[in-house]
């Protein structure tokens, strides 16, 4: 049997005060994901490693980390895709906590600022009817519904938030995920909170700070396009400002 190849892995260890990368040698396996690597380290090499995951199938959005400098959902990222081709070895991997969020410990970041911004962007459904009202009829083919559909598969992983350079430079910026969520609601015919939402995304930290560079869309694991959603918000907020929004 061939000698098993080894993945040279460095993992960021530390807390809010600071930290450093620690090296681990992890046996390379077929169909191995980055999350498998982290789990191997925690279960076999150092039980004190802190990280976060839940579903392991790309649904919960809790496992995002920086992998070789790029934000990724680690449970669905195959090592073979990212580790490079170091001849004779199993490649190299650098794993760090998600960018643009405060570190709690090791690979775990505090997601509170990320979700606070969802609330600040009015990313909350505001019913316009009571539960007694008949079910709203929404044409599946209508442009508004199509726009909402394009954005609703978000898993709240914060990969886009970590990828966004405007978030990095401006802590008040609501960020791609919150604005994408607001855009799906702007296109929800049943929602009754539109004026508040338009105000919220027109504020100082709002959609107008986006430079439309598209890092969020490039890295979103679900292939959503927050850049396009934010462009839609810019259009609607301008219409509202000029009194053209019905």
């Amino acid at each position: 049997m061939l000698e098993q190849s080894i993945l040279a892995t460095s993992v960021w260890r530390g807390d809010a005060e600071g930290g450093e990368f620690q090296r681990f040698e992890v046996p390379r396996r077929d169909s191995q994901t980055v999350l498998d690597v982290v789990t191997h380290i925690q279960q076999e090499l150092d039980p004190s490693l802190a990280y976060r995951f839940a579903c392991r199938v790309g649904m919960c959005g809790s496992c995002a980390m920086m992998v070789n400098g790029v934000p990724r959902w680690t449970c669905r990222t195959h090592v073979s895709k990212v580790s490079g081709n170091v001849s004779g070895g199993g490649g190299e991997l650098q794993i760090a906590p998600l960018r643009n969020l405060p570190v709690i410990r090791d690979l775990v970041v505090d997601m509170a600022p990320f979700f606070d911004k969802w609330t600040a962007a009015e990313g909350v459904f505001r019913p316009s009817e009571t539960r007694a009202a008949p079910m709203a009829k929404v044409q599946p083919g209508s442009p508004a519904r199509a726009a909402a559909n394009a954005g609703i598969e978000c898993i709240n992983c914060a990969v886009c938030y970590a990828a966004c350079d405007v978030v990095a430079g401006n802590t008040d910026y609501l960020g791609p995920a919150a604005l994408n969520r607001a855009w799906t609601l702007v296109n929800d015919a049943r929602d009754g909170g539109q004026a508040e939402r338009i105000d919220a995304v027109s504020s100082e930290g709002g959609c107008h700070n986006c430079h439309s560079m598209g890092s969020c869309a490039q890295f979103c694991p679900n292939a959503l396009n927050p850049t396009a959603a934010i462009a839609g918000l810019k259009r609607e907020t301008v219409k509202a400002k000029l009194g053209w929004r019905r």
């Binding site: 430079g169 027109s202 504020s203 100082e204 709002g206 107008h208 301008v238």
Partner: protein, 113 residues
């Protein structure tokens, strides 16, 4: 640090500047045919309401546009916020406006009407 008002202003001033830049370039290319002298330029601009209005609008649009752009950059790169950011934005706007208006005044005021 742009809200919808500043965003709109920046787009509107950009829109304004497109024809102004083109007009400026076209006249420049046309005017240098057969040599260029200060006297020739001044003979065209002095006492001209049209050129005064043209470059006055240009200066105003450029001052607003530039100030908003630098505001966003200084917020993101230098981390400026609040009063400092407001002061910088207005400072840039007023400085550009003053310099521009002085220049427009210098080439359009006086001379043969």
């Amino acid at each position: 640090m742009l809200d919808v008002r500043l965003y709109l202003l920046q787009r509107l001033t950009a829109l304004m500047m497109i024809p102004l830049v083109l007009g400026h370039l076209v006249v420049m290319v046309y005017a240098v045919q057969g040599g260029l002298t200060a006297a020739e330029i001044l003979s065209r601009t002095q006492g001209s309401l049209v050129w005064g209005g043209f470059y006055g609008a240009f200066v105003l649009a450029a001052s607003i546009h530039g100030a908003i752009g630098l505001r966003a950059i200084s917020a993101e790169v230098l981390g400026l916020r609040g009063v400092g950011l407001t002061a910088l934005s207005w400072g840039v706007f007023l400085t550009l406006l003053l310099l521009g208006v002085r220049a427009v005044y210098a080439v359009t005021a006086g001379g043969p009407a």
